[in-house]
């Protein structure tokens, strides 16, 4: 039953992932952490980290969360449910591309959803920051990670792995 609920959530979350992979994060945080308590907030942040350091898009974090919910079957169900909306929508769009391009409602809807995603992510950031920025050291790591990602072209995976090493030595 949990797997079915999880599949439904992931299907909806990915169908609404508009404006980059992170757009699914507020929905997943709400459902996986706040509503169903499948993961703690800390585990959720760790899942994001896993999604970042593994090859492929952030979506890979769903395999990690699915594994926590239902083992190997959970991970496979999670990935299938995550990519199913993409396969359905993209094949339809590819088939009817020339007509789809002209649909104003799609453009208008997307144009409004993208800034809304920014607002949601900001709320989630504050929420997640509370639990993980607990002292000057963690604040320093977060600030350094922010600065490096914003002002240099360093790969996020490298920053996450370096922060892991720092954590091992400093905490």
């Amino acid at each position: 039953m949990a797997l079915l609920q999880m599949a439904a959530i992931l299907f909806i979350a990915n169908a609404l992932t508009i404006g980059g992979g992170y757009a699914m994060v507020p929905i997943l945080q709400q459902e996986f952490v706040n509503h169903y308590h499948w993961l703690s907030n800390k585990e959720f942040l760790d899942a994001i980290a896993i999604g970042q350091v593994t090859p492929g898009p952030l979506t890979v974090m769903n395999a990690f969360m699915g594994f926590k919910v239902g083992g190997l079957a959970g991970a496979l169900v999670a990935m299938a449910a995550s990519y199913l909306p993409c396969v359905i929508i993209v094949t339809l769009v590819t088939k009817y591309y020339l007509r789809y391009k002209e649909i104003w409602a799609v453009k208008a809807g997307f144009a409004a959803i993208k800034p809304a995603v920014v607002g949601l992510l900001l709320a989630v950031l504050i929420f997640l920051g509370h639990g993980s920025i607990i002292n000057p050291l963690t604040a320093g790591i977060a600030a350094a990670s922010f600065a490096l990602l914003t002002f240099t072209k360093i790969d996020p995976s490298i920053i996450i792995i370096t922060a892991g090493f720092l954590g091992a030595f400093l905490f």
Partner: protein, 179 residues
Amino acid sequence: MTAVLSLKKIFLAFLKIGTFSFGGVYSMVAFFERELVFKRKWISQEEFVESLAIGQMAPGPPIINTGISIGYKLHKLWGALAATVGQAFTGTVLAILLAAFYLHMQDNPLLQAVMKGVAAAVVGLLASFIYKMIIKLVTGYRSATLAMGAFLALAIFKLNPIGILLAAGALGLVLYRRD
């Protein structure tokens, strides 16, 4: 290009792409182009650019979507599925292995220390991502109102994010009607 490619070939090509997809979207796009347009000559430059556009117009990760669209062009629905599974394979296997390891070792003090550093870095990463999105997307009073409204709806009123996004989409039909 006229002969239909075998699903196995499509799967293997996308397995390679999915396995080496580090380094952000731009290096990924170049990698895609090199593998599929220049080396294998499966699709033309124009078809590639069209699939790239489709990847960004549909929900989901743009780079996976681009792969699905190319897979569909090569071998219809089965091609789309072969491209999806190929692209997702390596990351999924690694995530499962890491999850098994992580859950087994969760009480280990060293892993906890590592993950404290990692969690802090993820918060910074998320902040940087949001900062870039604000600069790119929040450009006028309509987008600023939508962003602020969504923020308040979740942070203060604790509304469901799915509902908030659907409401924003519906509002977009009114706000962006004439664009």
